[in-house]
Symmetry: C4
Subunit: 252 residues, 4 copies
């Protein structure tokens, strides 16, 4: 593995990685943090692989470009000074199978992780589940996904969707942009929390036709809604930082 | 649609809109916030339509008069510089059918939204459900309510009540005053949370007669209780602002 | 009703009422607050009735001696400048029937209020329920308890216990001292939360013999434990105040 | 019992006790606090017994070396100025039976304590339960464990594991180091919370083979993971302190 030193980074990439760092902190704020576990990545615009969050720090501790390492499609670190998470094949194999995807995340979001154990579908008790057409479930006899075949199997389970539940483990989600991936993650976690709360109370299962679910999805999963939600999360992150005196690493 | 510039606003209207802004922040504080979604309105005292929260910002970000736009009964924006939410027909049609109503809100309050999926009635596990005589449920094959017929159907489901659950979506509530509407929203969210918690624990269903429910309602849903609760929420909002250093937009 | 002006108060009474104010804030901190509802009282050491929290403010807003009014056993306010809660008969009738009791509280603590709907006993899933030998349940066709016969019925349901659940409404608890009453309230709320959580998860019901429950109670419901817990709550209240900048009324 | 005065403490022991104090505050932060109840200890490196948290203060109030007392294997306090918890036999008997163990804790962590009532095993709904191979349950007709035979019975139930549920009471956990013990406690509480949430929602029980559970455990319960998690908790404690102005005793 090549040790990476100072790396030439143009302004566009620098800007993207700063937004990816913001995405890490937003996901921490919205319930995706689990100690130092979980990682996000951005497809390298120059085709060298993907920029992945360094290991040994939590999502909420990610500050900027220095917190990412460039990993090639075979898992070699080719730039950046941090450590590489062992689960890099989650990212490489999704980028390989899905040319439309530019950002990938794997987290142990609290309710999504619990819901990963469910053998039933995620139901539309509220609109949150309608941000997705459906969410597949990956059931494999592994814990960490740290080989290419395991990553390929997960990417295959993902199929053409934007999120896949990893049974008894967590969730992987992705998007055409950093903003899209972030919203998919946040909305999925909300939908799983809603489903778990509704199921706990024994509420009867929603009886929505496939047509109405498609209409609901078409009305809400719009680029303008992604933009407005992303901007909202960025402002909320700033309030949190102010409320916590600006000294806290968690919401910097 | 007429672009609205500087608009002449008398002191009484200015004061009302400042209380409506306070209502937005109180509802955010009490669990009604959902990113930039949800909106409140006040019937225009001069009969020009209603003043509605502008779009693209969250309930907790609403600061004052500049955050509202005047919308006529056909959905045209006639004053104010912000954007108009597409669900304006919720407001116009309730004002049309209910001359007693002066304030309307639609939110995705967490527990009310989940409870909207319930096919059973809201039960009086505690006094909170007795602030209402009953809460109807609107079951329609739509997602957003952005046409007059859809708004009319919702207003018809509301009937003579102050709140209506929108199945698999959220809740709409209203009142004779801003203070009344705010308390209806807060009390409903509390009652739904209580019902969901009690049902999760499998507690047996309350066996209260219709007469005792009427007596309970008559003892607690009083103008003086609305006043005292509103004043309490205003003071609580101020504590929150102080506790968060006054810089936070969330509880300003 | 006699309007009360400046009232002569000796140092001992002043000190007691300051501890009663602290009890109000501790109970707010530990989940007993419900807007401006709920009230605490201390038996007047000179036999004139009881000192009761004034109305229109929340438990967390109670600061000191000026927040209490002296109410006689017939409900007349004989000292203090605040308003009197209408549910004074809860207090008068318990003091009348129970000479051992010096402090009484009625609150809508979240989990205790929900658990008041339970037709089954509070079970010892953890030690918290063992702070009580048992908790009776008052089932009456009333909402507010604002007449002497209603207060007497509640006091009769309480019997020789320190807490009584008020079905579909809330809880009343009491003690030989302010500290004892406070701990009873906090421990009961913890036990009800534990019971509701355990029952929601479908855990099997505890199989503890009556003898072992008595032993558990004898080991933990000791004066020294009350003292240590009260002192802990007072310190916790001070941390909260510091953490919230000392300006907040909530944890002053 | 010998009253302990100034005690000679070398730098290594001083450093260990400071990390033990940090462990107390981390456990408070992660849900193990219950007023002044619960205690941690470190095996004395010179064979004189164990250093145990003093009584009458909460886990979050433990600041440094002055908050520990040296207790010998018969329960005599031989150094330190604080009081000794009555449940010292939990510690002495585990150290006696388990030479590999250097740190022991007993707490009333919220979800672990509730889960102690479960007659079913802790299930791997997520990876959290895989940090353990299994968790035994101690079912004894006692409340406090304050005699040697009771401590021995608990240590026997613990067997070769790192955690044991104490039915209807709480949990005891231990480790080869302070860091190990801390992580066992935090991970167990997470796993119990996950199990309770999943069971409440009625999710089907995980169907993982014994082999895959062993593989999952081998992949995640590594010394490097303990180190990274401990370091993360220490940083999180520092953010909390900053966010709460540094004045709060709770997160100092």
């Amino acid at each position: 593995m090549q040790t990476a030193g100072k790396f030439d980074m143009n302004n566009s990439l620098r800007d993207s990685l700063e937004r990816l760092a913001q995405s890490c902190r937003i996901l921490e704020m919205e319930g995706h943090g689990d100690m130092t576990l979980g990682h996000l990545s951005l497809r390298d615009p120059e085709g060298r692989g993907f920029w992945m969050k360094r290991n040994r720090v939590g999502l909420g501790e990610i500050v900027g470009t220095e917190d990412f390492v460039l990993v090639d499609m075979d898992g070699n670190k080719v730039a950046g000074s941090g450590g590489r998470h062992s689960e890099w094949p989650i990212h490489s194999e999704i980028y390989r199978l899905r040319p439309d995807i530019n950002a990938v995340a794997h987290t142990h979001a609290e309710f999504s992780s619990i819901f990963s154990a469910s053998e039933e579908a995620l139901l539309p008790y509220t609109l949150d589940a309608d941000y997705f057409d459906a969410v597949p479930r990956h059931l494999d006899e592994v814990a960490l996904i740290n080989t290419k075949p395991e990553g390929l199997a997960l990417a295959t389970s993902l199929g053409t969707h934007y999120a896949v539940l990893m049974a008894y483990h967590g969730v992987t989600f992705c998007g055409t942009s950093i903003e899209h991936m972030t919203c998919v993650g946040v909305f999925l976690e909300k939908a799983c929390k809603v489903h778990i709360t509704a199921a706990s109370a024994g509420l009867s299962k929603p009886k929505l036709s496939s047509d109405i679910r498609k209409k609901r999805n078409a009305q809400i999963m719009l680029p303008s809604h992604i933009d407005q939600s992303w901007n909202y999360f960025c402002r909320k992150l700033a309030w949190m930082r102010e409320a916590h005196r600006g000294d806290s690493r968690l919401f910097r």
